[in-house]
Subunit: 330 residues, 2 copies
């Protein structure tokens, strides 16, 4: 089958499209004919830093496609259109997915839209509700609001919790898009210190919850932006991970709960439970169109390097999709 | 009435015993004839750093005594023996306590034992169960195991959750005492790096929960000692609060929940709810004698400075009590 492979024969690892044997599905797995895969930062890390998230030599953690081999319990049927997380191997014509975490793609949605859902929406759902415990009408600060997870989180916080959403981004185009998704307040972090804008927007109280994809470079301003007893979920380190000075007293006096999290390395059982709850609670909104996947661009699989560079330059609003569709699939 | 007062007329604040007017209780308060008060680190901080925890000029956040004026709802009667947290003003002959948080002293217990309970047991209960979410048979690392909160936490974790308790302390005498209270593993942090001992004691898995009264000086070893998905409650900074280097990636890859907390500055409603749940769930153990307050020493109120110095030198095992008992009370 056609597949992206990591060629590490040179000085720097390269992604290339080549031929690999079709993967074999276990009894509790689905074998999926992948139509669309989506790009995630973890795919870039695997290439650059040799910190693979799985033993699978093929990158890619989420796909949308059709079932070609069902699981032994027949929880899905051959021909079903499904989307979901895979344990690596998504950038290929065929991929294996545990049936326990597969979700049917709503009828109104294309494969492209389906591939844009799992990773970012499950991450946003996990961080907002399971870890961040967002309550009705609380205030949440969502950094990188125009990113994949950011666009998902803005919609989820607004639609499910009627939260007051404050989003940050670095261009007016991105901020406008955040507003269209439902953000109540948008902040251009390049034009003003975001903590001052948060203070102004919250009557100097700060926010109940921070979704932090940035890390080190935002540390002090996040500390200043969070309310006493606030929750702070650390889910990315786009602004570095190394802090040169931390005063623990600030965490104590504000009684902050700081939780680090990652989705990809979690267990199959965790991903199954998360996918199940998400499908039950959020897919109805997606079917009605009140929550929607946000797609930035679609690249043919042969242009996987261009797709990665597009993400690395932070030019995207929403998801970058890789199309596996050959003539036979169209 | 007799009271400790902070004399700040000199270069350094001094605690002195003097005369003050008896405080006035509001409708929802009890006026208490204080028999015993207990010493807490926050009392020392108020003296040294001018960071008062309340507008009350008299130090002291917990007392045991008899009710001399009941609240208007008569939730307690004149003559009742009560213990609990006060919003400052504990180091005095009379103190005001919101009735919502007062607890009856079990019959078998003296005022001295009653005064040794509220602050440390409520703090340990809050950090273990409300914040730390300790589950049955989990493993908990309790630093400063022979301190007031440490001795309370060892007993609560053991009796209520049948947890595997690992305690650290700096002398063999303290470690022996931790074992007597129920600690399964004790570590002399002066003789070996505690993280290595924790690793050995947990089959290299680490602990589910850390109760951290130490802060900066233990940071790296705590990071090494915690299990993936572990909870870490920061409740003191005996080892400093300033960290020169933190790698946030470690919090993410281990998916750590780090929560800073303090009890004294929390709201009346919080203290009421915590005291109520504690009284219902833990006082039966104390009545039966399976959980006991740990008293290090009792000082007459006139020796308040000696009592503080005893705590500052970390010589105590358990609580340091101040006796307000005049001849009339005996």
């Amino acid at each position: 089958m056609k597949s992206v492979i990591v060629n590490d024969s040179g000085a720097r690892k390269q992604l290339e499209v080549g031929e690999r044997p079709k993967p074999e599905a276990g009894e509790e797995d689905l074998l999926i004919n992948v139509h669309m895969a989506a790009v995630n930062r973890t795919d870039i890390i695997i290439k650059d830093e040799n910190t693979g998230y799985s033993s699978n030599p093929v990158p890619g953690v989420e796909v949308a496609g059709t079932v070609v081999e069902a699981d032994s319990a027949h929880s899905f049927a051959v021909g079903d259109r499904v989307m979901g997380l895979v344990n690596g191997g998504g950038y290929a014509e065929y991929a294996v997915m545990p049936a326990s975490r597969a979700m049917k793609i709503p009828e109104a949605l294309s494969f492209t839209e389906g591939a844009a859902i799992p990773e970012v929406f499950l991450t946003a759902y996990q961080t907002l509700f399971w870890i961040g415990k967002l309550q009705q009408k609380e205030t949440v600060l969502i950094h990188a609001g125009a990113s994949g997870v950011g666009t998902a989180a803005i919609q989820l916080a607004k639609q499910l919790s009627n939260a007051k959403v404050i989003a940050t981004a670095g261009t007016e185009r991105k901020l406008k898009f955040c507003s269209e998704l439902g953000a109540d307040v948008t902040i251009n972090y390049k034009e003003q210190p975001f903590d001052q804008a948060v203070s102004d927007a919250t009557d100097h109280q700060g926010v109940d919850l921070i979704l932090d994809f940035v890390g080190a470079s935002y540390w002090d301003k996040n500390l200043a932006s969070i309310k006493t007893d606030g929750r702070w979920v650390l889910i990315g380190i786009m602004g570095g991970s190394e802090l040169e000075h931390v005063d623990l007293m600030a965490l104590m006096t504000k009684r902050i709960q700081l939780t680090g999290t990652l989705l990809t390395p979690r267990s199959d059982a965790y991903k199954a439970e998360l996918s199940k709850e998400f499908a039950a609670r959020v897919l109805p909104y997606i079917e009605q169109g009140t929550i929607r996947p946000v797609i930035d661009s679609t690249f043919p699989i042969e242009s996987v390097l261009d797709a990665h560079q597009h993400m690395e330059a932070n030019r995207n609003i929403g998801k970058i999709i890789l199309s596996m569709e050959s003539e036979a699939n169209k």
